[in-house]
Amino acid sequence: MTAYKLRIAHLYGDLMNTYGDYGNVIALTYYAKQIGVTVDYHLVSLHDTFKADDYDFVLFGGGQDYEESVTAKDLPGKSAEIKAYIEQGGSLLAVCGGFQLLGRTMEFADGKVINGIGVMSHHTVNLNSPELKDGMRGKRLIGNIEIKNNENGETYHGFENHQGRTFLGEGEKALGHVISGNGNNGDDQTEGVIYRQVYGTYFHGPILTRNGNLAKRILKNALSKRYPEIDWQGKLAAIPTESF
């Protein structure tokens, strides 16, 4: 029997790790183990090299403003390979700050604007931005949130906690539409993003621990790319899905 492997890169996992983001690795490992897949976890941090072909799944989490600004300075050295990884259909989950940094620009609470790597077309403003509707400014978006993806019919539950407001750009779809809570910007009812095999979100919780349906979807994508001959969908359907 072949030993199947899922090679995970946790981008800046020692800096961008707020609010249980690592739990997404725990969840994927939990499901992978039940279908006979071993997880190889790699931390890819400051000054480390990231190579697109070395990984089957990438997690890019959120951080405090300070860590996020340090991460942003290091990112240009890795952005070409991250771009290659995404464009060749690599699976990636980006949460909060990681989601923001994959886009064009992001703005800190103090008004400082920095460039993301721009591999995706969304951009993020801060909570005081004139881009926001009256009444939506000045407050952090915190609380429980539920969204629905109208294409696949799945609903996802989580907890959002962000000051940044993200607006999706060309070629991007939302991860879901807001049923309750705020979502990307509290205005257009979108939450998160889907672009190729990239899933971005403001959900903590963490998203894959509470939404086994999404964890399985991502796992299936990642494994099918590496081992296309195997029926991963069937294997995953045979094990229980944690969802609450």
């Binding site: 996992g13 020692d14 609010y19 739990g23 300075k73 509470r210």
Partner: protein, 460 residues
């Protein structure tokens, strides 16, 4: 200017009178300490009231995100060896109002001590955001800094924001001495205008080269582009840290734990500066608290023997963990609210030589922290290193914890959503010992059931 000063003084005297009166009245009416309300009344009358006491007492401020309460209790006990009157606040009165109340409740004693030519010492636990106000008005002589960890409960909980608040207070009192945890990298980020001494762990050789576990906060050097390395870690991001280019490293320690002999949940044997010492408490973090109190005592000129005598004297001050009997089970209740705290509890369980059961109670009300995701930042996988025999998962957010423990490799759980049935569940556990790890409001709800069943007193 003269008029202003005179006015302030009269106002302060009035505030003092009004505050004292309300303290006495409330105390009589409510038959309880009433720590916050009388202080609030006085504070609203005159925030400058504390300044009246600046030259009447000497003030030590203890601050940091974790361990303040116990460290304050230990510091008070240690400094009582000086023979001077000690004034200290209860936890929960660590904001400026609570401090005013504490000082005013002792105004008569302070006056009396002053008349006898003695200056009492106020040993105060101070909330991080209140350090500046307290230090400036009381002209603090010492700051004791425990640590700064991120608390998921606090939505502004960036550790560097907390750090700025504390250093703001310290910088405003440049003559006061800083006694800081040297193992915490954040306390050495910037130079202080103040005299500084550091305490920490020096129980291992300075030869290793390790990194903190991935999921650790606060591991960037002030150079902004280097992740810290460690010769060794004690817990969280604490330890003997350095950067590969040697531009930043742990400062020299003046006071150190030189050896750890044995750790159990109920007792820690270790050495500080080669003196053997026993603490009737488990948990490395408590050794840090004792070390902080030791460092303060030494800076006050006390000798090691005096300090150890004070710390050994009475174990009632270590009342943070509550134990009680349920049927023939010995149940230890511990509060959990963030990953560092939960990891410390797990460490304690690892040091328990007896088999035990674990009851987790998770709520997500405001006082618990409304975001439960922190449970995925704590290392419940390490429970495999313990003699854990049975798990009960409860609380309003039982599902979160149930999945957390399943994913940590513990599929065999009793799930009990009903607080009213927990006591019977505990009575049926296979082990004599059980830990109840609960968030704040779930602990209160569990306590209410214990009270109903006549197993615990109503208030605590």
């Amino acid at each position: 200017m003269l008029v202003y000063n005179l006015f302030m003084t009269i106002r302060s005297k009035f505030a003092l009178f009004a505050g004292s009166t309300s303290y006495i009245l409330l105390h009589k009416i409510l038959h309880r300490g009433g720590t916050s309300l009388p202080g609030k009344i006085a504070y609203q009358l005159d925030p400058a009231i504390l300044k009246e006491f600046a030259n009447k007492i000497q003030t030590v401020i203890i601050t940091g995100t974790n361990g303040k309460t116990l460290t304050t209790a230990l510091c008070a006990r240690v400094l009582s060896q000086s023979g001077r009157l000690i004034i200290t606040n209860k936890s929960g009165s660590n904001m400026i109002q609570g401090i005013v109340a504490t000082i005013m409740a002792h105004a008569a004693q302070i006056r009396q001590a002053n008349r006898q030519g003695q200056k009492p010492i106020a040993v105060l636990e101070v909330d991080e955001a209140n350090v500046k106000a307290a230090a400036q008005s009381l002209q603090a002589s010492h700051f004791v800094l425990t640590n700064i960890f991120r608390d998921q409960m606090d939505r502004y909980g960036e550790i560097y924001t907390t750090y700025e608040k504390i250093t703001d207070g310290i910088n405003s009192s440049p003559k006061a001495e800083v006694i800081a945890n040297g193992d915490s990298p954040i306390f050495a980020r910037k130079p202080y205008p103040n005299p500084v001494v550091y305490f920490g762990f020096a129980d291992r050789p300075e030869t290793g080269d390790h990194r903190a576990p991935t999921n650790t906060d606060g591991i960037l050097a002030p150079t902004d582009d280097q992740v810290l390395h460690y010769h060794y870690l004690t817990y969280a991001n604490l330890g003997s840290y350095f950067t590969p280019d040697k531009s930043f490293k742990r400062p020299d320690l003046k006071y150190a734990v030189t050896k750890v002999d044995s750790l159990t949940p109920a007792k820690s044997d270790f050495e500080i500066d080669q003196h053997a010492f026993t603490l009737p408490l488990g948990g490395l973090y408590n050794i840090y608290n004792a070390l902080a109190a030791y460092a303060l005592g030494r800076e006050f000129g006390l000798c090691a023997d005096q300090i150890f005598a004070a710390l050994n004297e009475d174990s009632r001050i270590f009342g943070r963990q509550e134990q009680l009997h349920i049927g023939d089970h010995l149940v230890t209740i511990v509060l959990i609210k963030n990953p560092v705290g939960a990891n410390s509890v797990i460490d304690m369980m690892i040091s328990d030589p007896q088999p035990f059961s674990l009851v987790t109670l998770l709520n997500a009300n405001y006082a618990d922290g409304i975001d439960t995701s922190w449970i995925f930042d704590a290392e419940f996988e390490r429970l495999h290193e313990t003699k854990l025999a049975k798990i009960i998962v409860g609380g309003q957010r039982y599902q979160d914890f149930s999945v957390r423990l399943k994913m940590a490799g513990f599929p065999d759980q009793i799930v009990e959503q009903d607080f009213g049935k927990l006591i019977d569940r505990i009575k049926a556990l296979p082990t004599k010992n059980a830990y109840v790890a609960a968030t704040y409001t779930s602990m209160l709800m569990f306590r209410a059931e214990l009270t109903k069943a006549g197993l615990a007193k109503g208030s605590f």
